[in-house]
Amino acid sequence: MIEFQDVSFRYQGGVTGNSSPPGFKGFAIHIQTLAVDRGERIALVGPSGSGKTTLLSLVAGILRPESGTVRIDGQELSRLGDSATRQFRIERVGQVFQSFELLDYLSIIENVMLPWYLGRGSQKAGLHKVDTRRRANELLKEVGLASRANDRPGQLSQGEQQRVAVCRAMLNRPPLLLADEPTGNLDQDNKKMVVDLLLQQAQQQDSTLLMVTHDQSLLGHFDTVLDIRTVSGGGVPA
């Protein structure tokens, strides 16, 4: 499913596609090999600044490696053009972020449908709006938020918002689910609920789940715990 072969990446300071976030200028990672099977559920751990988020960004095609190859289902991402990469991200990758990142001006159900709005107009637009809305409603029902479909994100608790974010990530039934510290802003009860939800959704769709976490209590839920330091030679500003 996911293959890294001799991948090097370094944040630039300039205006390239790999321009660095604050504090990341010159940061670099190098991954000799990494292989993840379809349906595998992996917890990615490691100290702050060790490259976990960078690895997820490389998998999602948000960042492009300086050298080496990243393959998803045999497809080499660096060979895809910008448009194809974006389409890949919309259709094949579900992403959950630490701070939920729901749009306050959209209703809950519209937030879940966001990937559909972003993908609309492309040749692979896929589902019609009615079908997409039905799918979004099903997802909200599964997470117990069907009655809140027309509310705004600001009206939900943090745990509920993260459940909406999981629904958004799962809208297109992506084979790849990436979660970057999705429990970082949640209390203990909500942490467990969100992780269970991610695992359950991944299992239902036979999706590969790659989740970054610092929470040791959650590691037991995953098939594999991967310490970034064991695969990356980076993590230290170059």
């Binding site: 389409q87 991200r89 992403q95 972020f97 990142e101 972003l118």
Partner: protein, 393 residues
């Protein structure tokens, strides 16, 4: 609606206050210069249309503009007057038709226009109900005046005193409404038309009272000397002219000196018009004969100049508004960096995000444009009324 357009619409709909302020600012920026231009051009057209249909005006020497506005729009107040003999002299020339006007009085807020029957055919005014002026003391109301006073033919209206502070002034005259005119969309709609002699009665130049020669008037007689009978204050004066007491009404003084505020002259051809104008070139008699369209064109030249300055000012204000809107917009983009970053990570291209922002701008500008157009359309409908509210008070 494509995804970006839909998201743009939802953003504006969610931020209602911000969107409303933006749309209101841009609407005003578009509306004000256009409204100024429409109001001025429509007003100019309305003003000149009535003036163009009034060939010549004779009035007291002084402000030609005041004379024209008084005669065409019946501005109340205290217009300068000329003697009735001026009308007689004009008629003696045989150079056209001449219509007297006396616009000095009013009934409530409606101007009383003393004139003769020629005025109605000259202006093309038609009766909606009742009949034309038939006897002294009757009136015919414009449609607006009848509506405002809530009267119909057969009802009564009363002239208002010139000033409430003059307790020695003439009595108000109760006038029967003989008819009501069809709406004409002009100042005639608000007028109360009476015969010119009725206007003189209102002024107190003519009056009616019980016959002092009769024995029953004895208590009202102060003294009798030869044929001269002097009445005391108890003599019974009539406040209404009826068929029964009409014979008791009479005028005191020389009617050739009775006042007119102006005379509309309608020469049959250009030659007659020029001959008439030639007679009043010199100002020896305290009279002036003016061409209303020329007088109003002089006014409009000034108005158009002012309009251009106003529009220039509004354009500068508009540029400043655009600058502020752009600044607010750029600051808003800065605040939305996180949102755009999220969209980008999920899969939105820069073009998509650009389209999202462009759609928001497009909705704001299209909404403003539609609103401004609607306002201009509505204002165009009411331009004439707005103009009249400035000219008649």
């Amino acid at each position: 609606m494509s995804g970006a357009w839909y998201l743009g619409w939802r953003y504006l709909a969610f931020h209602k206050l911000k969107s409303t302020i933006l749309i209101a600012s841009i609407t005003l920026m578009l509306f004000l210069p256009a409204a100024t231009r429409v109001l001025v051009s429509d007003s100019a057209a309305a003003l000149t249309a009535r003036a163009d249909h009034t060939p010549l005006l004779l009035g007291a020497a002084g402000s030609p503009l005041e004379l024209v506005l008084n005669s065409l729009y019946f501005r109340t107040g205290q217009p300068s007057v000329i003697g009735n003999e001026a009308l007689a002299r004009m008629q003696a020339t045989g150079l056209g038709e001449f219509i007297p006007l006396n616009t000095r009085f009013h009934s409530r807020t409606n101007p009383i226009v003393g004139t003769n029957l020629k005025y109605f055919s000259f202006r093309g005014l038609k009766l909606a109900q009742g009949r034309q002026l038939g006897m002294l003391g009757e009136c015919v109301l414009g449609a607006g005046a009848a509506a405002r006073q809530g009267v119909a033919s057969g009802d009564y209206v009363v002239s208002s005193p010139e000033t409430v502070f003059d307790i020695a002034g003439v009595y108000p005259l109760k006038m029967k409404v003989a008819g009501v005119l069809e709406p004409s969309g002009s100042a005639d709609d608000d007028a109360v038309f009476v015969d010119i002699r009725t206007a003189w009665v209102i002024q107190g130049l003519g009056h009616g009272h019980q016959d002092l020669a009769r024995p029953e008037a004895g208590a009202g007689v102060l003294s009798r000397k030869d044929a001269v009978i002097t009445a005391n204050a108890s003599v019974n004066q009539y406040a209404e002219i009826t068929a029964d007491n009409m014979a008791e009404f009479h005028f005191h003084g020389d009617t050739s000196e009775f006042p007119l505020t102006s005379v509309i002259a309608v020469p049959p051809d250009d030659k007659s018009a020029i001959l008439l104008r030639g007679r009043y070139v010199s100002n020896d008699e305290g009279l002036q004969l003016v061409v209303p369209s020329t007088v109003l064109n002089d006014l409009l030249d000034t108005v158009f100049t002012v309009q251009n300055y106003v529009i220039l000012g509004l354009a500068i204000l508009g540029l400043a508004t655009v600058a502020v809107i752009m600044l607010v917009f750029l600051l808003s983009q800065q605040l939305r960096k996180g949102e755009f970053h999220t969209l980008s990570r999920i899969g939105a291209s820069k073009t998509y995000i650009g389209l999202l922002v462009a759609s928001e701008l497009a909705f704001v500008f299209i909404g403003s444009l539609l609103l401004a157009t609607l306002l201009i359309f509505m204002m165009k409908q009411y331009a004439l009324q707005i103009l009249q509210s400035f000219l008649t008070f």
